[in-house]
C-alpha cells in the first residue's frame, strides 16, 4: 500500500515538474521551408518530438513534445540545419513551476539553463512561451537588434557556466 502511495506521489511530482510542451519554429533557407518534407522528416526523428504540423498562416512548424522527455534545444536546431535550413525563430511553450526570475539571474530548466533578457524579479509560473535569442535561432537582422543586450549578458553568462558545471546557457525572452 505504501509503495502505491509512493508511486502516486512520484507520478504527481513528475507531472508538476517544469516541462516544455510545444514549440513554434520558423525555418529559413534558399527555398520555401514548408514546401519541402526535409525539415518535417528531420524533426520527427527526434525522440522527444511527437508531432510536427505546418502552421501555414505563419509559415512555420508547430511541434508537440513527448511528455516526460527532456527537450533539447540544440537538437531541434541541428535537425533543422541537417535538413539544409536554419532556424529563423524558435518559440517554446512550457508549464513552469514557479521558477524565480531575477534581474541578471538565470533559470535552470531540466538540463538546460536560461538567461532571460527581459527578467524583472518575477517568476515563471504556469504556461508561458519563451523565445530563444541567439545567432543560430533567429535571422541576422533580428539578432542585430539584441546586440548590446547580449554583450552585457554574455559576460555574466560565462560566470554562470562555471558555477553550473558548464551547462549550456540559452538567452531567451519571455513573452
Amino acid at each position: 500500500m505504501k509503495t502505491i502511495f509512493l508511486g502516486i506521489a512520484l507520478v504527481c511530482s513528475v507531472v508538476a515538474h517544469t516541462q516544455f510542451t510545444k514549440a513554434n519554429l520558423q525555418a529559413s533557407g534558399l527555398t520555401c521551408a514548408l514546401c519541402s518534407n526535409a525539415i518535417n522528416k528531420s524533426l520527427q526523428k527526434l525522440s522527444f518530438v511527437v508531432t510536427v504540423k505546418p502552421d501555414i498562416k505563419n509559415s512555420s512548424f508547430d511541434i508537440v513534445f513527448r511528455e516526460g522527455n527532456e527537450v533539447s534545444i540544440d537538437e531541434l536546431k541541428n535537425a533543422v540545419e541537417n535538413a539544409g535550413f536554419s532556424v529563423a525563430s524558435l518559440k517554446i511553450t512550457g508549464n513552469f513551476e514557479n521558477i524565480p526570475l531575477q534581474k541578471d539571474g538565470y533559470a535552470k530548466i531540466g538540463n538546460q539553463a536560461f538567461y532571460f533578457l527581459n527578467a524583472s524579479g518575477e517568476s515563471l509560473r504556469g504556461e508561458k512561451t519563451i523565445t530563444i535569442v541567439g545567432k543560430n535561432f533567429m535571422t541576422a537582422n533580428t539578432f542585430k537588434k539584441y546586440g548590446d543586450k547580449l554583450k552585457s549578458a554574455s559576460s555574466s553568462s560565462g560566470k554562470f557556466d562555471n558555477a553550473a558545471n558548464a551547462l549550456h546557457v540559452y538567452h531567451a525572452i519571455v513573452s
Binding site: T31, C32, L34, C35, S36, A38, P54, I56
Partner: protein, 165 residues
C-alpha cells in the same frame, strides 16, 4: 569450384535484372503509382484512365509559394497547347479544401484538379515519392514518365515533341 562460379554468375545475373527492374520507366498504369481522387465537384478521377493522353502530373498546395508562381507558367503553357492535345492533372496536398478552391480560382486554373488532403502523408505523394513541391511528371501517350521537374523551356520542348509539333 565450378559450383562457386555458377553461384557467382547467378548472383550477378540477379543483380543485373534487379537493377534493370528499378530502372524501368514508371508507368501510370502500375498499381503502385495509380490513385483515385476527388475533383472540385467531388467526382473521382483515376490516374490510370489518363492513359492515351500527353499530360503533366503536377503536385502542389495553396500554401506553397513556389507552386503558385509555377501556376502562372502553367496557365500560359496550357493555353498554348490545350487544343493540341495537352492536358494537366494537378494534385493539391491541401488539408483545407476551401483554401484549395480559392487558389484554383485565383490562379485561374482550368485544367484537371484533384485533392489529396494530408500534406506529406497524402498517399498519392507517397506513391510518387514527392518530397518537395512543386513536383511535376510529364507523361506520354503510353503512360510512361518522360520528364521529372522539367524547367519551363525544357518542358515546352518535350511537350511539343510528344505532340508531334
Amino acid at each position: 569450384m565450378k559450383i562457386l562460379k555458377t553461384y557467382f554468375l547467378i548472383s550477378c545475373l540477379a543483380l543485373v535484372t534487379m537493377s534493370a527492374r528499378s530502372q524501368a520507366i514508371p508507368n501510370i498504369t502500375d498499381s503502385r503509382l495509380d490513385f483515385s481522387l476527388p475533383d472540385i465537384k467531388g467526382d473521382s478521377l483515376r490516374l490510370s484512365t489518363m492513359k492515351g493522353r500527353v499530360f503533366l502530373l503536377d503536385f502542389w498546395a495553396s500554401w506553397c509559394g513556389p507552386c503558385r508562381y509555377s501556376n502562372k507558367n502553367l496557365v500560359k503553357l496550357y493555353d498554348r497547347y490545350k487544343t493540341k492535345g495537352f492536358e494537366i492533372l494537378s494534385v493539391s496536398l491541401d488539408d483545407n479544401k476551401k483554401e484549395w478552391k480559392k487558389a484554383v480560382s485565383k490562379d485561374k486554373i482550368t485544367w484537371l484538379q484533384i485533392n489529396d488532403s494530408g500534406g506529406w502523408e497524402a498517399r498519392s505523394a507517397a506513391k510518387w515519392q514527392v518530397d518537395a513541391i512543386p513536383a511535376s511528371f510529364l507523361i506520354d501517350k503510353s503512360g510512361n514518365v518522360v520528364a521529372i521537374n522539367a524547367e519551363k523551356k525544357e518542358l515546352e520542348n518535350k511537350i511539343r515533341e510528344l505532340l508531334g509539333l
